[in-house]
């Protein structure tokens, strides 16, 4: 049998190969493990679990050989963002403060994947507590984008799901889980030339996922193709009584109508996303995207989302506020790092001072401040009011259109270290993705082309609540038209 190149496979093609017995899951998993090890220079993994992977692969092969029922993802090797609690496997959120933490529980989203037969390769690097847009805030060091600048400069993969995007782009995982709070699936997907979807808030259970900002966090798949995202989302999603914000409605078969096209659909183009000083190549790609969908039979409609400009400021109040409270539980008492102190408060301060990195501390500080007495109304209440207006903008737009097309990110991948001096510069990476998160809507990024520097760029599609099936169908159309086949050279292997 010829050596398997996991980089040339998709989840769909791997499932086909497994079904036709072209290869076993153990063989596929071994190939993935070898690629994963070769890709260590990318620093995409925090914990590799090859033994567990092979064990799961073996079990998958047994299920297939018995000819019984197989899962939706039976035997497919995936990697898991290290924000999902995985039973008995180190779970860090890329933070020093979770040193040595091995949960006694499995997140609902990953449990759903294992139920469908998926195989776990290990835990992926990310921005610490998912706070970042470049994967540089990780305690375990930055992730390197498989795509390099022409001069060989190392670039960021985006964030916070930077490890996830890098693993899929580098080809050692067929798919990865991501989480998205303000763009953490879509922006790295765009910067690494892969597909990622953030489902509607409430579609995928948050139970067992380390919380960043509870009203925004949503998990989703990151894959090479739209079809793979559809397959993986179907397995991850579903009602979970353990999450009070999980929505009790059936999960459709996202693959069934994937090729239905966009004929007769109305696609909105929000004029507020056309910002001053925007990268001309991104504007051009956006125009191209419109044309592709028009050519496929969609009607392009100009729309207005008047409060777009305020989304980022809203987000940078709401998300840190929730985070400051969500991260209070990391206190050195029940798990993770403890740095001694002469009394309880000093132990807290020492532990949290040493355990949290700079960006996380910054957000805890901002969040603490905007919730504190005398400032709450001016900041937090105000932001939640503006959030209501942002959501209303979308509700009005969706009375006229079926989906919205925008760029995913304002720029392609940038050099590691470039935007670290000014937090606000970094936050601007999320300018196109944050409004969707604030409104709880599904959004996806589809790779649409390369810029003149040879780096991938994605386009974002935004859908109506729980209309992921329709959104994926538009994504599939876009993917087909864009025919994005470029891959990074495997420079890390040498």
């Amino acid at each position: 049998m010829a050596a398997i190149d996991p980089g040339s496979l998709t989840i769909a093609s791997a499932l086909e190969g497994l079904a036709k017995k072209d290869f076993t899951s153990v063989e596929l998993t071994q190939a993935c493990i070898a690629s994963m090890e070769a890709a260590r220079p990318l620093n995409a993994m925090i914990t590799e679990t090859p033994e567990k992977a092979l064990e799961m692969a073996k079990a998958a092969d047994e299920r297939r050989s018995k000819g019984g029922e197989v899962g939706l993802l039976d035997g497919v090797p995936l990697a898991i963002k290290d924000l999902f609690a995985t039973q008995g496997v180190l779970t860090t959120a890329a933070s020093h403060i979770l040193d040595g933490f091995k949960p006694e529980y499995e997140s609902t989203a990953t449990a759903n994947l294992w139920k469908q037969g998926a195989v776990m390769l290990g835990k992926l690097n990310l921005d610490e507590f998912a706070m970042g847009s470049s994967n540089e805030t990780s305690y375990y060091g930055p992730v390197v984008n498989p795509w390099r600048a022409k001069d060989g400069t190392k670039l960021v993969p985006g964030g916070s799901s930077g490890g996830s995007a890098a693993a899929v782009a580098a080809g050692f995982a067929l798919g990865a889980t991501g989480t998205d709070t303000g763009g953490s699936i879509r922006q790295p997907a765009s910067l690494c030339g892969i597909t990622g979807i953030k489902p509607t808030y409430g579609r995928v259970s948050r139970w067992g996922i380390v919380a960043f900002a509870s009203s925004l966090d949503q998990a989703g798949p990151m894959t090479r193709t739209v079809r793979d995202s559809a397959l993986m989302l179907r397995a991850m999603a579903g009602f979970d009584p353990k999450d009070s914000t999980s929505v009790d409605r059936p999960v459709p078969d996202y693959v069934a109508n994937l090729d239905g096209g966009v004929k007769g659909m109305r696609i909105g183009i929000p004029r507020e996303y056309r910002m001053d000083g925007m990268d001309a190549e991104i504007v051009a790609l956006w125009e191209q995207g419109k044309q592709w969908l028009r050519d496929a039979g969609a009607e392009i409609v100009d729309i207005s989302l008047p409060h777009t400009h305020y989304a980022l400021a809203t987000y940078y109040i709401v998300a840190p506020a929730e985070a400051s409270s969500n991260l209070a539980r990391y206190d050195g008492v029940r798990y993770g790092l403890r740095v001694p102190g002469k009394d309880l408060n000093e132990m807290y301060e020492n532990t949290r001072g040493a355990g949290f990195g700079r960006e996380v501390q910054r957000r805890i500080m901002i969040g603490t401040y905007v919730l504190s007495a005398g400032y709450y109304d001016a900041y937090y209440t105000k932001a939640q009011k503006v959030r209501t207006l942002i959501k209303k903008d979308f509700e009005q737009a969706f009375q006229r259109v079926d989906a919205i097309l925008t760029p995913t990110a304002p720029n392609a991948a940038f050099p590691i270290g470039m935007k670290n001096d000014d937090p606000v510069m970094m936050y601007l990476n999320d300018v196109f993705t944050v409004p969707t998160s604030l409104a709880g809507l599904p959004g996806m990024s589809v790779p649409a082309g390369l810029n003149s520097a040879g780096l991938p760029l994605g386009l974002q599609l935004i859908g109506k609540p729980f209309e992921e099936a329709q959104l994926l169908r538009v994504g599939q159309t876009l993917e087909k038209a864009a025919n994005f086949t470029a891959k990074p050279t495997a420079w890390w292997r040498s």
Partner: protein
């Protein structure tokens, strides 16, 4: 609104973050940068707008009153940095 070093020290205390004085200085300028960025929200007219309490239009589900959990002290205590028997331990607190 602008934060000085003393204000930063107070917030750090509230958030239980040990912060050296030089770091407080830098933090003050970083926070002020962010605060001046979010200041633009004040320009939005939000008269008669309700603050968002839930992004999904749904009602709070209530569970039945039944004992379905607990009884596994090891699972609860296993990751503790310090413990005594089935207790977590912390530096002594004087009430």
């Amino acid at each position: 609104m602008s934060l000085d070093k003393a204000a930063v020290a107070k917030i750090a205390k509230l958030a239980r973050l040990k912060m050296e004085p030089d770091r407080q200085e830098a933090m003050a300028s970083e926070l002020n940068r962010i605060l001046s960025f979010v200041e633009e929200l004040q320009a939005v007219n939000t008269d008669n707008v309700q603050p968002m309490t839930s992004v999904a239009p749904m009602k709070l589900r209530q569970r039945e009153d039944a004992v379905t959990d607990g009884g596994k002290p090891e699972a609860v205590l296993k990751n503790a940095p310090q413990r005594q028997g089935d207790f977590y331990t912390v530096p002594k607190v004087i009430e």
